[in-house]
């Protein structure tokens, strides 16, 4: 599996395997950046993996007041799920419980597509008959009276079936400090690519999983091949110099966005070099049998 070396960092000749997903995007705004961020952080909380959270969600990008529909600070948030039904359910629950409730918030569609998901057209019922429908220039808004004025929410948002979930990079380092430094550098570079989210805490996941388990009912369990403490006991993928591995998982609006993000992360890790960061970069796959998308690291090298 050993491939090339770039700036002293070994890059495995392997690929990340990713899956087709359904995704949507909204813009959440508030009177200040602080409250926009509060609403968004609440909404994207507990949304790291579809395995246990129903959806994967994160901030795609921050928007300046001049870039949002209502001229206030905001964020573009993306949600990913395995089915349109689940995505619809998660969107309404999260916007209803976390954005509607947040002071001064408003919520707008942020994905242009013919397939639509309900947003304000379902949340409007909170208005108990006092909700107001407004159409301006082809866009449909609902105004729901709340205790600090009105919650304004666009009626629907777009749904894409071309989204990709599960793009990833594995960063293998000599120690924990170096692994974390590599992961932080990669996550920062990857987050800057538009149209993607990194659903795990800070964009980084330390508990990479394999499919299946020795226990009945567990659909995923620890990725023992990459666990340094099991090097002596399992068919390990780690050489003696590796003592910590961190993974970055990427969900993207399009396959191109995932590839661009992975390339940006790879570049950042290579620039950081093996002393301060990762000795080796790899990627997770299932032999190419399960996922529709494959991202070969050698194609993404700078």
């Amino acid at each position: 599996m050993r491939g090339l070396t770039a700036n002293g960092v070994a890059v495995d000749n392997t690929f990340a395997e990713a899956f087709g997903m359904r995704a949507t995007a909204i813009i959440v705004t508030a009177p200040t950046r602080k409250w926009a961020l509060e609403a968004v952080r609440s909404m994207i909380g507990f949304a790291t993996s579809v395995i246990g959270c129903g959806c994967e969600a994160g901030i795609d990008m921050e928007l300046a007041a001049s870039e949002t529909p209502d001229g206030r600070p905001g964020f573009r948030v993306m949600l990913f799920a395995v089915s349109s039904d689940e995505l619809q359910k998660q969107l309404l629950k999260r916007v209803g419980q976390c954005v509607l409730t947040s002071p001064g918030s408003a919520c707008f569609a942020a994905l242009d597509a013919t397939d639509r998901l309900k947003l304000g057209s379902a949340l409007r019922y909170f208005g108990d008959g006092w909700q107001i429908s407004k159409k301006l220039g082809g866009r449909h808004y609902w105004r729901v009276p709340v205790m600090d004025g009105e919650f304004v929410c666009e009626a629907t948002t777009g749904l894409t079936k071309d989204a990709v979930g599960g793009g990833n990079l594995l960063l293998l380092a000599a120690g924990n400090d170096q692994a974390l430094a590599a992961a932080e550098a990669a996550a920062a570079a990857m987050q800057a690519v538009p149209g993607i989210i990194l659903p795990f805490p800070g964009g980084v996941v330390r508990s990479g999983s394999k499919i299946g388990s020795k226990y009945k009912g567990m659909i995923a369990s620890t990725n023992d091949a990459y666990a340094p403490t099991l090097r002596a006991q399992v068919a390990s993928a780690l050489t003696a110099d590796i003592n910590a591995v961190l993974e970055i998982v990427i969900d993207g609006e399009t396959s191109e966005a995932v590839a661009a993000s992975m390339a940006a992360g790879l570049r950042a890790v290579i620039e950081l070099g093996p002393e301060r960061g990762a000795l080796r970069v790899s990627a997770g796959n299932y032999g190419g049998k399960l996922g529709k998308f494959q991202y070969h690291l050698k194609d993404l090298l700078p």
Partner: protein
């Protein structure tokens, strides 16, 4: 292909019904057939050729060089294409139009944009009474599209309006948005007495307090309104207004409580 142009020869001696002169009805006609279309509504029965000199051939962009208060129903039932009238028009301009755009460079008579459901009608001068409103006996007025009056609109602008956006930038007369069902009426430059008379739902956006508010409207606070920002930004993006009409904080008056009472008059807080 140059635009199909109707140049007015002289002030017509009778009222004219210009409703046949829209792209959809002229599309398959030869020029000599167009000249024979009857426009007059009296025993004179003037035809196109008696009133206008024709030039150009592109029926999707029609121009009237010269206008008259006797031009009725210009652009009626328009569904696509553009009509520009370099002059005044009479009653019912853009009546029941559903698409395309009409630009009146002069002033319009009563019932401009009556019952329109789509497209854009812009009047650079003033407009008469019942702008966007229904004809007698009809249940609803304007039901979509954008109607802009750059000058002053007469009484009862947006009567029985149901959907869409009506913007009046030079002030308007009494009973604006009377019997409004829903939709948005934006008024810059002040409105006369009793706007929103018997309105059920819908929004009237004004930059200052109306001359007289109906006693059946009740003040319900001033709050930082996201909708006001959206409306302001839409008006600017559409080239309708140059600056925000409402601003961040608006005062809301709910009414008309003589009927359903779910409508509102939003007044810019600095103007209230």
């Amino acid at each position: 292909m140059s635009r199909l142009t109707f140049t007015l020869l002289s002030e017509p001696p009778e009222r004219l019904d210009l409703s046949p002169l829209v792209p959809a009805r002229l599309a398959s006609m030869a020029m000599h057939e167009v000249e024979k279309i009857r426009l007059g509504v009296s025993k004179h029965s003037l035809a196109v050729g008696d009133v206008f000199r024709l030039s150009g051939a592109d029926v999707s962009a029609i121009v009237f060089e010269g206008g008259s208060r006797r031009f009725d129903c210009a652009g009626a039932l328009l569904d696509s294409g553009t009509i520009r009238i370099a002059g005044d028009v009479g009653a019912q301009t853009g009546r029941r139009m559903s698409g395309g755009s009409i630009l009146v460079e002069g002033s319009a008579g009563p019932h401009a944009g009556s019952g329109m459901s789509g497209g854009r009608l812009e009047i650079l001068g003033d407009a008469g009474d019942f702008t966007g409103g229904p004809l007698a006996g009809e249940l609803a007025g304007m039901s979509g599209g954008t109607l802009i009056v750059r000058g002053r609109a007469g009484d009862r602008a947006g009567d029985r309006m149901r959907r869409g956006l009506l913007a009046v930038l030079g002030g308007c007369g009494d009973y604006a948005a009377s019997r409004m069902i829903a939709g948005t009426l934006a008024i810059v430059g002040g409105s006369g007495r009793m706007p929103g008379y018997l309105m059920r739902r819908g929004s009237i956006l004004v930059d200052r307090m109306p001359q007289m508010l109906s006693p059946s409207f009740v003040e319900s606070g001033a709050w930082d309104s996201v909708f006001a920002s959206l409306a302001d930004r839409h008006l600017i993006a559409e080239g309708i207004a140059q600056e925000p009409l409402l601003g961040r904080t608006v005062r809301r008056y709910c009414g008309d409580n003589a009927v359903l009472g779910k409508g509102e008059i939003l007044v810019a807080a600095q103007g209230s």
